[in-house]
């Protein structure tokens, strides 16, 4: 860790004089701390389609969660009482939920395609022994234990594993059970028949399928919480621009990680 975060030298930059601008002339007795970035490179990690997927996915999940919680337990009633005619609160919630569900699905199918099309950071292979060895090291790293976790440009193996569980498995549970419930009023229709096999894997009755949908949704909530925390934590520890890389695609990494040689 210490080689990545060297003691910052106190230097006054020589390319400006205190008179240059308001910032430079501001508190000259408090010098700027910086470190040279010559040994670093900007790595193009997240390709544009991956970034678009990520934010569309976030939007869809937020919409799905808010409307989903309402559908499961309507926490607010329509403001106009007595007549059902005047409001359509649950109707709108369901409409948005279904809209976001389709967005989520199409987005995920596109991402699945990009697994094959994209760069190496857009895919993962858990069927390698080294993957699991490094998962173990990463767990030790997160438990503040002594570890041999290498630095990764993309996702660490534990993060990859969590995507396998939550995106690879969780979203399929949520999508299949969701689409089954969506087509429940019309089993005999084309779309109904498309999902008619879902009960066989999730245990028969509508109630159980609905329960799986709930459980997977809670899984997503847990995942979101941990995922966001981990992202900010990584940015804080590594100072490599994890957060901004989700928008720009670039991360600042030591040159040696991309195969370049240290010039020192």
């Amino acid at each position: 860790m210490s080689d990545l975060m060297p003691n910052l030298p106190n230097q006054t930059p020589n390319y400006y004089t205190p008179e240059t601008n308001s910032e430079a002339s501001f508190h000259p007795e408090r010098p700027i701390k910086y470190k040279p970035v010559n040994e670093s490179v900007k790595v193009y990690v997240w390709e544009l389609p991956v970034r678009i997927f990520h934010w569309v996915n976030m939007l869809a999940i937020i919409l799905l969660m808010i409307t989903g919680v309402y559908i499961g337990k309507p926490f607010a009633s329509a403001s106009i009482p007595e007549e059902a005619y005047y409001s359509n609160l649950m109707g709108w919630m369901r409409y948005i939920h279904f809209f976001a569900a389709f967005l989520f699905t199409v987005n995920l199918l596109f991402r699945l395609y990009w697994v094959f099309k994209g760069n190496k950071f857009s895919t993962s292979n858990p069927l390698r022994w080294v993957f699991w060895k490094e998962v173990f090291q990463t767990i030790k790293f997160y438990l503040f234990l002594k570890n041999k976790k290498p630095h990764y440009i993309g996702h660490n193996p534990l993060a990859q594993l969590s995507y396998w569980i939550f995106i690879g498995l969780g979203s399929w549970i949520v999508m299949l059970t969701g689409f089954y419930m969506y087509t429940e009023p019309q089993h005999a229709s084309f779309w109904g028949k498309l999902f008619s096999w879902v009960p066989y894997i999730f245990g028969g009755d509508s109630y159980t399928i609905r329960s799986w949908h709930h459980l997977a949704a809670w899984g997503f909530m847990l995942f979101t919480l941990i995922h966001v925390y981990m992202a900010f934590r990584d940015d804080y520890l590594e100072r490599n621009g994890s957060i901004s890389s989700m928008l720009t695609g670039y991360k600042v990494e030591p040159k040696k990680l991309v195969g370049g040689k240290d010039e020192k």
Partner: protein, 358 residues
């Protein structure tokens, strides 16, 4: 094999006119979900089909299904019992009892093997000591009779899914009748009890056409179990509007709002209560202000409190509310993250300090 009277002959014998008979057939066609133009098919079937011998067996039940059956308005129970079928054995309706009635079951087995239909009410326990009828193991009797039957109708949730007796912890080891049937076709007519008109309608269809109506993936007739209560509910508009009963004594309950929040299982229940209704189409639970308890669904006793809407953790009892578990897990995770974040900052500060010293 003895020759049975045709349904038409039986009806004429019972003093009905041909006109009455035709009326009955038309009404029956409507109940079966056929078009008016197809009622001649029903007439033809009734004129040529002989009355089918039926054995009504009761196992771990409450006789509720029989009680429902005898209240059918269309087709009328008496026209089913007297004209369409020949009820050879029934613990509730048979006039004889004891050896006499038990021997008539034997007689049917001998005379009409491969021809008779069994209607079953109630679940079958694994342990014979919980259930024997006429001194014989009910399970053995059923297995023997089922082999010789043309078809089996499972009336009610107990015979279809195990029902009340199979509810956790299932002390008798109750199983649905399908667990003991090998090659005989079974049609499930679940419900606790099923709607009377559905019960008579199913048997009328089988007798009219000599085959089962179209069945869904669980073996229920699609004509009666195709729709969710929720999708046909008379209170559905209040659901979409977001107007819910919060308590049974609030204004919403008086106004007839949606019962979703007081535990209505309509959204996960397949039955035709909302269309056929009960007691000759008078009303049904939701219309009367009580949430649906989902009585026609598999394991409905274990699907949570009747007056609370919740999901379950598959494989567990619904005494655990997954939404509460989820919320608790979320809270714990948030607390864990706070601790972990604090640890991360402390560790980083320590590492940085060590870096400075080196």
């Amino acid at each position: 094999m003895k020759r049975q009277k045709t349904v038409y002959e039986a009806a004429i014998d019972h003093g009905f006119t041909r006109r009455d008979f035709l009326k009955m057939c038309t009404a029956l066609a409507a109940t079966l979900g056929l078009e008016y133009t197809q009622s001649d098919k029903v007439v033809k079937a009734m004129e040529t089909n002989t009355r089918v011998p039926v054995i009504w067996m009761q196992f771990q039940d409450c006789t509720g299904c029989s009680e429902s059956f005898i209240r059918s308005s269309q087709p009328k129970t008496e026209s089913v019992l007297l004209d369409m079928i020949s009820l050879e054995y029934s613990e509730v309706l048979s006039a004889p009892s004891g050896f006499q009635v038990e021997s008539s079951m034997e007689q049917v087995y001998k005379d009409y093997k491969g021809e008779y239909i069994i209607a079953v009410e109630g679940s079958i326990p694994d342990d014979d000591s919980f259930l024997s009828v006429g001194g014989k193991s009910a399970k053995d009797t059923f297995i023997k009779m089922a082999e010789g039957a043309k078809a089996i109708i499972a009336y009610g949730s107990c015979s279809s899914w195990g029902g009340v007796a199979a509810a956790y912890p299932n002390p008798t080891g109750a199983k649905p009748i399908t667990a003991h049937v090998k090659n005989t076709p079974v049609i499930l007519v679940p419900g606790c009890p099923p709607i009377a008109e559905v019960m008579t309608g199913v048997i009328a269809y089988i007798i009219t056409f000599g085959k089962f109506p179209e069945l869904d993936h669980l073996g229920r007739p699609t004509s009666f179990y195709r729709h969710r209560i929720h999708d046909k509910c008379n209170r559905r508009a209040y659901f979409d509007a977001g107007l819910f009963v919060e308590n049974f004594d609030d204004e919403g309950a008086k106004q007839g709002y949606c019962l979703y929040k007081v535990g209505c299982k309509g959204p996960t229940t397949y039955n035709s209560c909302a269309e056929m209704r009960w007691n000759g189409g008078v009303s049904y639970p939701i219309q009367s202000g009580n949430p649906c308890i989902g009585c026609s669904e598999k394991g409905f006793w274990d699907n949570g409190p009747f007056f609370e809407r919740r999901a379950k953790i598959p494989g567990t009892q619904t005494t655990i509310n997954p939404d509460e578990v989820g919320l608790a897990a979320l809270g714990l995770t948030a607390a864990g993250i706070a601790v972990h974040a604090a640890g991360t900052v402390v560790k980083k500060k320590k590492d940085d300090k060590r870096g400075e010293e080196e």
